[in-house]
């Protein structure tokens, strides 16, 4: 088990004591990565994309995310918090951005660095550089959603070349924050801790196992759920002037916020992992001709719907839009944009490592064996009830047959089939 953990680290984990084996999570998992084993919903490491759908649906809160604790601040001489912009939508009433950021700082951080610095840069570089490259495969797909990226690796490997090879806002912010802090404080890279306050389970996984880069500059991840309570107590006094966010940068993590500021007609923004899958199917089949940019976000509403948020995504979105109204427009100078494009070209904020496909859906590495297994599955399916009840522990009858043919989940039994044959054997009276 420990070996498995190392090979496939996931932030999403099961609290076995709370799991009652209800099958809710089996059904919503977009990659069929959950099986009931001895009545507990176990995650298949290689298939999980950390989208957090299971965390959201579990009525018993048995699915959770591993994040760091506040104690991690003690490991560093100088600490910088990068709160996800979504944090600004979590508080009801008239809480201003500076008030919230001050409350974060009071948790024990030396400095706050806003993720909006990263969103500005991404918009500028995609708009003024990546979109202008005719060689880049269309539609260009956003790299910002780590769950969507893992989904593409597993289910849409043909679309990997379409991914915009630019880092995410937090990662860019982390790099800039660290570089600046080293210059200003004299501490070394290792002495400075950059801590992300995350609404996202998949981002947590990406910090430990980055996609597209060698190493993350984020040193720790706190769950927004955990930070919410700490902040609540700190709100309201000695507010510092901390925010530099602009309208566009604040709206960036809300669905449509990435495509809209690019100033192009042919972009499509889709939220919710199951809808993202449908549209990626269409893109893979060349059915969306002329599409320039695709923004796919696994959570409903975009990052405001993240599994580690407190507020309802629609309310959070409304709140962020109201806050954005009071912010200045983003007006980058040509010089700034030029500098940002240089940063991208130099590799500083670019995805420099190849994003490899992961063929986890295949039955066997050898195609002849695959065909044999497929034939067996086909035969078994004729015999199975096809009602996808999940009682056997697999999400569908087909998945049940696959598991048996692959030699996994050997103890699984189809209870519907057993009952039917039992009824047949009963003497007629």
């Amino acid at each position: 088990m420990n070996k498995m953990k190392e090979k496939y680290f996931h932030s999403v984990v099961l609290d076995a004591d709370r799991c009652v084996g209800c099958t809710s999570c089996l059904k919503v998992c977009p990659t069929e990565a959950i099986r009931l084993k001895e009545g507990k919903a176990c995650i298949i490491g290689e298939k999980c994309i950390d989208c957090g759908e299971c965390i959201r649906i579990c009525p018993n809160h048995a699915k959770n995310a591993v994040t760091d604790s506040k104690e991690i601040l003690k490991n560093y001489k100088y600490t910088i918090a990068i709160p996800s912009l979504v944090l600004y939508g979590q508080f009801r009433g008239n809480v201003g951005i500076n008030e919230m950021l001050t409350a974060v700082k009071k948790i024990g951080f030396d400095e706050i660095f806003e993720a909006s610095v990263g969103t500005e840069i991404i918009t500028n570089v995609i708009k003024n550089h990546i979109l202008r490259n005719p060689e880049k495969k269309r539609p260009i797909i956003n790299s910002s959603c780590p769950a969507a990226l893992r989904l593409i690796q597993i289910r849409f490997p043909e679309l990997l070349p379409n991914i915009a090879d630019i880092e995410t806002p937090v990662e860019i912010a982390a790099r800039l924050a660290k570089a600046e802090a080293v210059r200003r404080t004299g501490f070394s890279m290792e002495e400075i801790g950059v801590i992300y306050i995350s609404p996202c389970t998949a981002r947590m996984t990406s910090v430990k196992h980055p996609i597209g880069i060698k190493k993350s500059y984020i040193d720790g991840v706190l769950s927004m759920k955990d930070v919410y309570g700490m902040m609540l107590r700190n709100l309201g006094s000695n507010t510092e002037d901390l925010t530099r966010s602009t309208k566009e940068s604040l709206l960036w993590p809300i669905i449509g916020g990435q495509g809209e500021p690019l100033g192009i007609k042919n972009y499509l923004a889709v939220d919710g992992i199951h809808e993202v899958i449908k549209i990626l199917e269409e893109i893979e089949m060349d059915k969306l001709e002329g599409l320039e940019f695709f923004e796919g976000m696994a959570c409903v509403g975009g990052c405001v719907g993240g599994p580690l948020t407190i507020e309802n995504p629609f309310i959070a979105r409304r709140r962020m839009k109201t806050l954005a109204k009071g912010l200045p427009d983003s007006n980058p100078s040509d010089e700034e944009i030029k500098g940002q494009i240089e940063m991208y070209k130099s590799g500083f904020i670019r995805l420099t490592e190849a994003i490899e496909p992961k063929a986890v859906m295949r039955l066997d590495d050898d195609i002849c064996k695959s065909i044999k297994k497929m034939e067996k599955i086909k035969e078994m399916l004729k015999d199975l009830p096809g009602i996808d009840c999940g009682v056997c522990g697999a999400p569908t009858c087909k998945a049940f047959a696959e598991d048996i043919v692959k030699g996994e989940n050997r103890n699984a039994v189809c209870i519907v089939k057993t009952m039917k044959s039992f009824n047949k054997e009963k003497p007629q009276s």
């Binding site: 089949m285 060349d286 195609i367 002849c368 695959s370």
Partner: protein, 146 residues
């Protein structure tokens, strides 16, 4: 010899289910571990064949056959058949009604796309008997799509 065959019925004018067959084909090929560029070619070709049956025919079947060397899609419909196959192979040529075109189908790219996405394409058709299309893509190593 290991090979496997799936048969799917395709109904005329059923635009709600249109595309389901090619999605199923794609899923099967993915599970078999076929190279993703080949999966893409086959599923585009299967989609075009499926849509041709939905739009132009009175109904038919799509058959998927997989052997270790070749993937074959066969599309059979019950008519009305193509009067001039050579003309139908031309990009942009279509007999689709305005209604169908409004919905974004019938651009006259069906057969040309099938040709583009296959290693071999055989079309036999005559008015009154229906259309029979065979699309083949080779699975030999090193022979991978565009």
């Amino acid at each position: 010899m290991e090979d496997i065959k799936y048969v799917f019925d395709v109904k005329k004018d059923d635009f709600v289910r249109a595309g389901e067959t090619s999605s199923k084909v794609k899923k099967i090929l993915r599970e078999l571990g076929i190279d993703s560029s080949i999966i893409r070619k086959i599923s585009i070709a299967a989609y075009e064949a499926e849509m041709n049956i939905v739009i132009h025919s009175t109904g038919g079947q799509i058959v998927l056959e997989i052997t270790p060397g070749v993937i074959r899609i066969t599309a059979n419909d019950r008519g009305p058949g193509i009067a001039d196959v050579e003309l139908a192979m031309k990009e942009g040529y279509s007999t689709a009604t305005d209604r169908v075109r409004e919905m974004g189908f019938g651009a006259g790219m069906g057969l040309p796309n099938m040709k583009r996405c296959s290693d071999r394409l055989y079309v036999t058709s005559s008015e009154g008997t229906g259309t029979h299309i065979v699309i083949e893509v080779d699975l030999k190593a090193g022979e991978q799509g565009e």
